[in-house]
Symmetry: C2
């Protein structure tokens, strides 16, 4: 074991271990994803993730150096200085939170060709990619990735932007029913379960991530086929059965990020009306059009498979739980 | 070229380049110095230097990983959290600014066996090593190092604590007269001049560092012999000839760091009295004893070879230049 990173776990820090072999293999499998992202050794890359304690900064620095690109370890914050360095050195590849990237791009980043995003939901947020591309004011390749501190990398998209490909020469991914633990059918929502193929320090064996996703097996021009088309769409540990459908309330939060009128606060209330489930959704937001509401209804229905009986938009939501289950359930 | 770090140069950032070969060689030569410092692969190391933009954090992370020790990239600041991680994980090697190390040690760091210091003058400051050792409350090995962003590593002490050994399988060091550029005799003060032996990206060729030092050639049990016994003792670019002696005012600042009564502010005034040089030194400070002043006089005389005619300690020094030359020099 040689590198010890940490993952924040509440107020505590959870240790993440790597041997030198682990780091080497991690860099090697990432190299393929960098090629698939369209990177060249001549690229000048800047990483705005943190390098202190946590894993993302050193993870990118190491893989990009092993790939042979040129890498500037910017670190987070100090957007003025970051912006100046990126422009002074003609940085062509930016690795950043998407929200920070948009902030930097608002002042002009004419040399960026590829943007790696991470650290925030991205592919799962409707319309986010278009918004980011607009902020850059030109055609850029956006590479989304999904990793956990415990397992870097898990999945990364490629220049063909066909979803996040599982890095399947590093990790074996399954999607299971969160209740039974049995594999779901391809295309069905479930919990992502990960097994390390070669890791020496603290390997994961059928680790239940608690992350809700869909997996599909579909060949891509980049060579990979196991793909999470929308990345992570919610958490499984709060699954509710409603109207006979498995429903994960946190999906609502992910969906709302695609709607600028919504603050992100919501409350979903399950009731029984005339013996059947009745779902009310309260959303905090303002300055919305009727098209906004129609679009939201459509996306909620499409992505959750639940028909919401009432959607009520309020300017300010009373404090309280996000999920209220008032159903009269029969004792079984 | 693969890694681009920066060095602050006024308000600007000066770029520092490394190829992958450069990084590999840097790690290899540093490995020998880690062995000489008494490190083992079983050591758990924590680095409190910054990893963002600047060079020190990644420099230590890379060399310690290549050596095979366990490394926690703590980063600077957040002393509470740093202290907790160091104690929770039984860190045995701390890499830090000496002042930050003392701050951490004041709350107890019972597991530290070796302390690497850097980023501040250390070996050149009289009594600093003793003060640090006292703060740790037990016998620790203190390893001082001297590097510049442009050239990492230059010199590092070993567990025998006989001065800072030039890393002579990486860099060729000379000490020259700052005026003539000719080599000085061994043991004489002068300007450190560096030449990279193998560097691929931006190598230095007889680079004049502007740093004032003394070099000696003296075999040490660790195997090295070219040594900077006190590290860097001042800057050469402000040399003044006084009483026939080459004098570097910045040495005063270095010396004052060893005296807790002094704030570090000083003003040195050169005059002509009865045709000869007369030197007045004003020092800002308070709560000093007559022994303090005697000791200061002694150290100033010993280390600068200049006899100060008057040393005046004032509570508050008027703003103004550090060096005032009021001598009536004859036109030549």
């Amino acid at each position: 074991m040689t590198r010890i990173n940490f993952s924040p776990s509440g107020k505590e820090l959870y240790p993440i271990f790597h041997t030198n072999n682990d780091l080497e293999r991690m860099h090697k499998v990432c190299s393929k994803t960098l090629t698939a992202a369209g990177l060249k050794q001549s690229d000048i890359c800047a990483v705005t993730f943190g390098y202190h304690l946590f894993i993302a900064g050193l993870f990118y620095q190491g893989q990009l150096e092993a790939f042979g690109a040129k890498v500037i370890p910017l670190g987070p914050g100090e957007s003025e200085r970051a912006w100046k360095v990126i422009n002074d050195y003609g940085v062509s590849v930016l690795i950043s939170n998407p929200s920070f990237a948009v902030k930097l791009a608002s002042k002009g980043l004419p040399t960026i060709r590829v943007l790696f995003v991470g650290g925030e939901p991205f592919s799962s947020v409707e319309g986010y990619a278009e918004k980011v591309r607009e902020a850059f004011g030109r055609d850029i390749t956006i590479i989304d990735s999904y990793s956990m501190a415990l397992c870097m990398p898990v999945a990364r998209s490629c220049q063909y932007e066909s979803g996040l490909h599982i890095v399947d020469d590093f990790v074996y991914a399954e999607v299971v029913d969160p209740v039974t633990g049995l594999p779901v059918k391809p295309g069905e929502k479930g919990e992502l379960v990960l097994t390390h193929l070669y890791k020496e320090a603290a390997p994961l064996l059928r680790y239940r991530t608690g992350d809700l996703t869909v997996i599909e097996n579909k060949a891509c021009s980049c060579g990979r086929s196991m793909t999470l088309p929308k990345g992570i769409i919610g958490r499984t540990d709060e699954m509710v059965k409603v109207k006979g459908v498995k429903f994960w309330p946190s999906q609502i939060g992910t969906i709302l990020q695609g709607f600028s009128f919504a603050t992100g606060n919501y409350r979903v209330v399950f009731k029984t009306k005339r013996g059947v489930d009745f779902v009310e959704l309260f959303i905090e937001g303002s300055e919305y059009s009727s098209e906004d509401v129609e679009k939201l209804e459509h996306v909620l229905r499409r992505d959750t498979l639940v028909k919401f009986n009432e959607i009520i938009i309020v300017e300010k939501l009373e404090p309280g739980p996000r999920v209220v289950d008032e159903r009269n359930t029969m004792p079984s």
